[in-house]
Symmetry: C2
């Protein structure tokens, strides 16, 4: 028996809006941020996790983590870490707090961070990176961590068990293959809207030289610019697949029209063509822009929404995110749903720390769930990795397998302190550059 | 020109879990609460609003209100109140904070409270209750407050304008009719799961005597209990329509099976049979339980979800809620969507203050949007009204038209202070009754 003795959150923000890294048609000026949490047991064990946000409002998420953290304080750490399905339900289905979602937005993300911190403790106890812990768990134990509430019309526990049992065959070989050769990546680094054509092209050439299998361009600001930028890359690097990403910029009819106007450049997929809530809209867009693939997921708030995107035949590519949903458990549910429908998962990453976190799900997916890398890549963006205890390692356009025990969330203490908002030393230095904290509306709305 | 000089939130909670008022299959022990906000201009004008919650976590919503409030501080109050469409977009589409939803959960509800506080100032300026302000606004001005982002595939500004222009005919007569005779209500007061059969039957008889057109029973705890309770009311009061409400208790197949097992009692509607996010699930359930009507909405987080419920033919009754979405503007959008699809709106109320708020939307709907009361009632629950500046008035089973200028949210200052959590005098008195704050999981999950 052990005891949860503290749950401490911290508001960490990086002033990325100063450089327009991460600018797209909707997120014009993000300050990549982490609502960070450290869960400590009386054994001295620590679990790290965070929720990614775009800056303003990060303090709402730290408040939510503190509030949900009250449900863990004083509880038996062994019981929580030994039964992570139950631990997650205790947070997500709290009878009073459920109203705040249910299962969506700030409250869902805060639950996810706490669940992930418990998984971090579990993985450290077993001395394994999260992906390997998951890959080596028995199918029965994995099914126990999944919350099947409201998804049994698409995936029952028995069906999940079947998928995972099939995934046992050849698993050791696939784990060895991942350890040796990693997992394919694509890169979004060249394609931010704020970058010049010259920078776009230079970074795209570097992406090819670095062995990435695809690049992604942000679109949706101006059709003329989109045609020029997409044309430039496709003309200069004709063998390089190029995905495009509108970050929910369009209504349904606009999406079909705009994507059709880019069809001659054969984009590999169109990502987030419209509101992430719009299941029927995605289905209509997919029919309207075929054969261009439709992808979404980074802002999809729970397994029930993913279930419907799959049931409606609305997506070709499922892009789960590591800090949007209620943690590892819900992402395992989503991987199983995707496998059941035969849709490839290409996780969302970028921001700060999302690459470090999300890679674990693709490694696990290959080892034990879909057992395929066909049509699958993990997104890669090359900034802010230096702040983490185990930065992602990319070689030959592939993610190398994480090695350190844990879930990948641990940010260096120096970084956490320096970029604590608003009082960290880093923020005191940039504080006079007022643009960072000046509110804007998204261009779609101005 | 005027200026927003303060945005002050307050955590107000009532210890309703002590009496099991409001107990249902999912919300077993709510402490009805308000994340209250007061927006003050330098003219001395005040706007009141709140977000309803079930207790724990109310402090997350007050934090969110404070955070979004920063976007209003120092701004021109006349500009905000004069262009409420723009004011809403400035909050909802803030480029960094949008990530926290987008447009859902805690962040959406907080935006809604601030938007509603601005409407309160506007209505007080014009000396009208909100419903009358809305009813007397020109169609063009109403369309200007609606955010059509991501709904134009179902409702364009021109289509909205057509609906509102048609609603001009006979409007003055309907307003006079509402002033004289009010709007029909149904009551949920008899049907809480925590009540004995005797109390259920006594309160149902009182409901008939009081002239209510329908009662609603909570179901989903045990099928045997549901059959007994529903049978009892239907047998003793055969002329009284009885709706049932499962508060999202079931998966899709369970919902169809359970509701079918209650079909011989001819429930008027089944409310929230499954996850409020499950559009396709509601559509399947509606097909599976026909001719029993399917109703949902109190936890539907934005106009994009309502759009799809309507597009999918998933609901017979739309139950908008006054504090779940981004305020008056988004509820106007939802009323217009419902009118476009010909689906009656029967708003959700109860909790604390929800009756006081939501009545305005039905009065407006009748005066200027659907222009019908056919198959429409406002929910009524008879507790906690004494805390408001203008408590709802019910006569002959109908809501009387609110008279005081404003949106109906103003809670008496004494009540706000007494039930401030955790330091108000009321909470100091009940504080030793520990059951109030002890976390539980929902029975579905235990």
């Amino acid at each position: 028996m052990s005891k949860v003795i503290s749950v401490v959150s911290r508001d960490v923000r990086f002033p990325t809006s100063l450089d327009l890294d991460g600018s797209d048609a909707v997120n014009v000026d993000p300050d990549y941020s982490a609502a960070y949490v450290l869960v400590t047991l009386d054994t001295g064990e620590e679990g790290h996790a965070f929720v990614f946000t775009c800056g303003r409002g990060n303090e709402i998420v730290t408040q939510a983590i503190d509030s949900y953290g009250q449900l863990l304080l004083g509880r038996d750490g062994d019981e929580l870490v030994g039964n992570l399905g139950e631990a997650s339900k205790r947070l997500v289905h709290d009878s009073q707090m459920r109203w705040l979602g249910p299962e969506k937005g700030v409250s869902q993300m805060a639950c996810g961070a706490l669940v992930n911190a418990l998984w971090d403790i579990r993985a450290r106890r077993e001395g394994k990176p999260l992906w390997l812990l998951l890959s080596e768990m028995a199918p029965e134990e994995l099914v126990d961590v999944v919350d099947f509430t409201h998804i049994t019309d698409a995936l029952t526990p028995d069906q999940a068990l079947d998928i995972l049992r099939r995934g046992q065959g050849g698993k050791a070989e696939r784990i060895a293959e991942l350890q040796a050769g990693g997992y394919p990546a694509y890169t979004t680094s060249p394609g931010w809207l704020g970058y010049s054509d010259e920078k776009l092209l230079r970074l795209s050439r570097e992406a090819v030289a670095d062995g990435f299998g695809m690049v992604k361009l942000k679109v949706g600001g101006s059709l003329e610019d989109d045609r020029r930028r997409l044309g430039l890359v496709r003309h200069e690097l004709p063998q390089l697949p190029v995905a495009i990403d509108a970050n929910q910029r369009w209504d349904v009819a606009d999406a079909i029209e705009w994507v059709s106007a880019l069809a001659d450049f054969e984009p590999y997929w169109i990502e987030e063509p419209t509101s992430t809530d719009d299941i029927l809209g995605h289905a209509a867009i997919r029919r309207g822009v075929a054969p261009t693939r439709v992808a979404t997921g980074e802002a999809v708030h729970n397994r029930i929404m993913f279930k419907q995107l799959l049931q409606a035949g609305a997506i070709d590519v499922l892009q789960l995110d590591s800090t949007r949903v209620a943690g590892v458990n819900e992402n395992v549910a989503t991987l199983l749903l995707a496998a059941r429908f035969g849709v490839p998962v290409c996780p969302h990453a970028g921001g700060v720390g999302l690459c470090e976190l999300v890679q674990h799900f693709s490694f696990f997916d290959y080892a034990a769930v879909s057992t395929s890398q066909e049509g699958r890549f993990i997104e890669y963006v090359d900034h802010l990795h230096e702040h983490f205890a185990e930065p992602v390692r990319i070689a030959g356009g592939r993610y190398a397998a994480p090695q350190l025990p844990g879930n990948g969330a641990e940010m260096l203490l120096d970084s956490r302190l320096r970029w604590s908002y608003p009082d960290g030393a880093g923020w005191r230095e940039v504080g006079d550059r007022a643009a960072v904290t000046e509110p804007h509306m998204t261009p779609a709305e101005v």
